[in-house]
Structures are given as C-alpha cells and as structure tokens.
C-alpha cells in the first residue's frame, strides 16, 4: 500500500518567525516530494528480482528508500514540532532537568547544534534513548542518520530549504525562531508515548 501524505500538522499562518510561504513550500516540495519518491522507490523494489539484481541496483534503491522514508518521518515530526510559543509541561520539564541539568541548558545545547549545521544539511533531534532511559540531543548529517533504537520527539530541520526563503543564509535567526515556536504540547505528548513504552 502506498504511503499517504499526512496533512500539515501546524497552522502555517500562525508560526512566529516563519512565513506561510516558507512552511507551505517546505511541506509541498520537500515533505510531499519525499513521500512521492518513497512510493516510486517502493514500486521499483516490489518489482525487483532481488536474487538476480546487480548489487548496485539493490544498494542504490535501498539507500534511496531509507533516505526518503526518514525524510517523510522526520518532516512529519518537524511540522508537529511547530506551533505557538509555550513551555514544556511538568513531566517533560522534570526529565529535561534530570537529563540536561536545566531546560535552558538543554535549549542551549540543542540550538547550538542547529547553528553549527548552518550552510549544510541535517537534523537536530531530541530523542528518547531506550538504552539509557533518557533524552539525548542527537546530531544527524542527513535524513538517514538516526540513533539506533531511538525515538525522536522533537525535530529541527537544518536542511537549507527549511529557512532560505525567509532567512537566506541567516541560519542563526532561523534556529532562534524555531526555539521560540516549539509546540510543547505536541512534544510532551510524544514524550508521554515513548516514556510509557519504556
């Protein structure tokens, strides 16, 4: 069954510091584009004779499948991470304090990791690490880099398509806008889910 495009999880007219044009372009071109690519790849894979296919065809398609699938998953989380300004709820706040020292220490690390990826591509993810039973900030150089077994609950897209329309090369201002626009209720819900299954 083909993957279906999910509706935009945030209201693109109500994200402080990001224009509707930026968010809609990001959603239509990059997110929807990833889902379409994923479906095209899935179709090719379904028709592939794995036993006899050349290794570069198998490697190429499976690599592109991973990239497109992670792009889909992470973009959905990214749009769900955006909303109006707010604060983490008590349970999430306590966990951030336990795992990072304070909410502001977590935020300083997370935003610095985003700014360090200016001019390139990648993700910064707040991820539940089942191994450590804690939250970690995870660096990703592209869609395919994720912590094995980790559950991302907040995603900052540092691909340049996430900000160039509004901010040009000013990635720092984009990261600051993102930090102020985190949809904490959604993050808290995602945290509750992963913490319950832990």
């Amino acid at each position: 069954m083909p993957y279906e495009v999910k509706p935009l999880a945030c209201n693109p007219t109500a994200v402080n510091g990001m224009s509707e044009r930026l968010i809609v372009s990001h959603y239509e071109n990059n997110y929807c584009g990833a889902v379409q690519r994923l479906n095209a790849i899935a179709k090719e894979l379904a028709e592939l004779d794995f036993a006899n296919a050349p290794i570069f065809v198998i490697n190429g398609l499976k690599r592109e499948e991973l990239i497109a699938m992670n792009s889909m998953i992470l973009h959905e989380l990214f749009f769900a991470s955006l909303g109006e300004s707010g604060e983490p709820d008590a349970a999430l706040r306590d966990t951030l304090i336990r795992d990072f020292g304070s909410v502001s220490a977590w935020a300083a690390e997370f935003s610095a990791m985003g700014k360090a990826q200016r001019g390139g591509s990648g993700w910064v993810l707040l991820t539940w690490s089942p191994l450590d039973h804690k939250l970690v900030n995870q660096w990703a150089m592209d869609h395919s880099t994720t912590l094995a077994g980790g559950q991302p609950i907040l995603a900052l897209d540092m691909y340049e398509h996430s900000y160039h329309i509004d901010y040009g090369a000013q990635a720092v201002a984009y990261v600051d806008a993102f930090m102020a626009a985190i949809n904490w209720p959604n993050v808290a819900r995602a945290y509750t889910e992963v913490a319950r299954s832990a």
Partner: protein, 344 residues
Amino acid sequence: MRYKIAPLFCRPWTLNGISPRLIESHYENDYGNALSSLNAATAELEALDPATTPAALIHRLKRDEAALLNSTLLHELYFASLGGDGRTLPEPMAQAIARDFGSVKRWRDEFIALAHGLAGGPGWVLLTYVPRDARLINHTTAGHEQSLAGGIPILALDMYEHAYHLEFGANPAAYVAAFMRNIEWDTALQRYQNAVKVEPPPRLIQKQFADIPSITVEEVKGMIESGRPVQIIDTRPRHYSTRAHEIMRGAVWRDPERVDEWIGELSKAEPVVTFCVYGFHIGCETAVTLRKVGFDARYLVGGHYAWKAIKGPLTLLDDTSSSGSGPVMQRIRPEEPLADPQLE
C-alpha cells in the same frame, strides 16, 4: 592564516537568470564561512601536538578540515564555472566531451539528470578529469567531503540548497537550467588542458622483461569469447599449484621447471599465453624461453589473480593436471560457452 580568500571569479551582474544577490550571499556566507572555519580548524590543529593529543580529537578536526577545504575549493570552482553563455564550447572542449560521453548533448543530459537527482538534498555535480584513464566523467557527491580520488574537477554545480533557495525556492530544475545557461566554457577548457598534463599513476614496470610482449587479461578474455585460437598455459610453480584449487578456464597447468617435457605439445601456428600467480617472473621467464625457440608467446599481465579479479571463468584444478601428467593441450573452441563467470 594559511588560506587566503579568492576574489569572486564571475561577474555577478553579467549572469543570465541568476541574481547578484544570490551570488553575493553564496560567496559571502557559504564560501566565506567555509574559508574562515577552515582557517580556524587549521590553526587549532597546528597548535596541537599530534603525538600527545587524543586521536579522537585529531580525527574530528581533520575530518572537518577536509570537508571545509573541499567546500572552499569547490566553491571557488563553482564561481569560476559561471559567466559564459553556456552554449559556446571551444572546439577542443567539445571534442573531449564528445569523445568521453558520445556527444555534448549526452553529456549535458547526464549532468542535468545528476543535478535533478540531488534536488532537495545537498551535494555537488562535477565534471572531472580522471588521469588514470585519461578521460572525463560526471559524478555527484553527497557532501563537500566526497571526491573522486586523483580526479581533477573542471566544472562544478553546487546543489546545496543555499545555491538556489533564496531565488528559486524549491524549484531546483529552474536553477539547474539557469546554471547551464551560464557555464563559462573558456576557462573550463583551460582547466581541462591543465588537467590532461597530469600523468596517470605509474604502472608496474618490469625492466628485465621490458622487451617481452605481454597481453592483458581483458584481451585474453576477448580472444576466448570470440573463439580466436590461443594456447594458455598456467605456469604457477609446482609448490603453489599443488595447493591451488582452481585454474583459469581454458588454461592447462604445466610445470615451469620442465618446459622441455611439454614444449612439444604446443603449436607455433597459434599464439601462446603464459602466466603465473601475480605476473611477476615465472610466466614472463617461460614466455622468454618459448620465444627463443620461435613461439609467439606472451605473458599475461597480472597473472592468475588479475584473471580472477576480472571475474574470468575458472575451473577446478584436479590432481592429474596439477601433477603435470594431465590431458594434452586443450584447445578452446568457439562452441564452448565461456560467458558464465562462476566457478564450475
């Protein structure tokens, strides 16, 4: 500061469909940031004592240094790739591209397709001269740090989104078309002409066998597949072949120490190919011996392992042939299928 900034090579106001604003942001922010970070990483590395610094720290800094240096070099090449009309290829450039890609159109279609394949993700599309094979190739990179080993890029298309998003948004196809309309081919030709002066990496030369004709494994495979007669003799030393399990299909093993005993099986009317394990001495010496008495003998470059490396067909080496008392010289006939590269 080890690395100095290079001035913008192209004139931004002359570009067709790419605005000065985009080039200025790209030059100042992306190229400029790469260069200043490169200098910072280099300074940090110079201040360290590699003998006592934790290896992990050196590793991190060197990885960043390589990515930043490549970003610097490729951005300079990118700005130098722009400023022309994209259409007018100097004759030697058009000839080189037609030679290596079939036609300029085919090169162009492939280059554009590679760029479209990078849409929405970062990377470079490069036209690179490969000295090993003395030819041009198009290739992509998934980041600044990748490059073709020993290759010399002569044309660079930046597919990082900072190269186009400001002006083209999420429409990389329009950006790629604009890039193609602005390629500056005259300086690309200069870079190509400089690149072709780079010699291929030196190959193995065996001076003592310099005047003995050799043959490559590809040539022998071609002879076998087209049914041309050839007598192929595996002359791996006895101590080696008694431990070996497989032999080139179509070859027979003969003891290089006892040429006199089997030379009578050979025909002077058809070429002889001799080889040993790696192609260094024994196969060559056997060819010398055979040539002295009038055989058209050549040694196989790279020997048994070069044949294996091109996935040439093999057959099991049985005890009789390894003992040297095997069947008389088998002759390869065109009706014998040899396309299957698997061990039989």
